[in-house]
Subunit: 136 residues, 2 copies
Amino acid sequence: MKQKKAIVNKLRSSGLRPTKQRVLIAQNLFERDKTFHFTVETLNKEINKKGSEKVSLATVYNTVEAFTKAGHIKQILTSKSKSYFDTNIKSHHHFYDEDSKELTDINYNQVKLSKVPQPPKGKKIKNLEVVIRLQK
Amino acid sequence: MKQKKAIVNKLRSSGLRPTKQRVLIAQNLFERDKTFHFTVETLNKEINKKGSEKVSLATVYNTVEAFTKAGHIKQILTSKSKSYFDTNIKSHHHFYDEDSKELTDINYNQVKLSKVPQPPKGKKIKNLEVVIRLQK
DNA sequence: CTTCTAGTTTATAATAATTCTAAACTATAA
DNA sequence: TTATAGTTTAGAATTATTATAAACTAGAAG
């Protein structure tokens, strides 16, 4: 609550109107000690639990998309039909446990890329991600 | 057609009964000069086009799953809700073009990982993939 | 402060990919 | 030849996501 002004600025500075819903979601996502992973489903549950004012699922989708475009969160590559997002936007990579479907961050200094290809002409690299899939 | 015996063996050796449908799909996937990418949708279209005997969509799904488990094809990580597969099972990586939704192979020697983390206890690395997302 | 409007939210419907179901079929072991 | 476990099938069900269009609202302009 105390950092509401900071949240509002964060939204404004990326061209997003600080609506009641966006501020609520942003507080939930960013006023934490640690970054974390979520899906729209889990975020929606979290946002709409107990007491708090209700936010529609469509808005949660819209907001997640808006925050992703603004670079406040990033989308994680998995091969499954559910999208995962991460509040940690620093360059880092993931373990994806095939058995439990869980994602874990890999500390960026645990992976070293010593060679990366040139992007095709007219295109630039938006994001580079290493996903290590785990099995028992 | 000529390599039917090889296809049948390939299936048998991975514990898959060489049914009419599986052989047909395997021929389509593996009797090619070059490896390629596909989705269940594109494969289904290809398999069920003109003249040829029809294979149900459910079977295409089942077969793709079976071939993936057997390691004959591999599933590619993207963040979208459509799964991509690749008949190239050698270690290699991908460009994923956000605008066109196209996947392109990156030759394995274009990417070099000089450091890879230890998998958590009790787990082993099934697969490691670098996905480079492109934008205009 | 009021008014205006573009941007936003909402419930709901629509779409798309995938998985499930249970009955019919078939490869193959005996 | 027969029995049966594995496989195929059409269609229904499920799940995630996107679209729609009406109601609402932040904030600019007066």
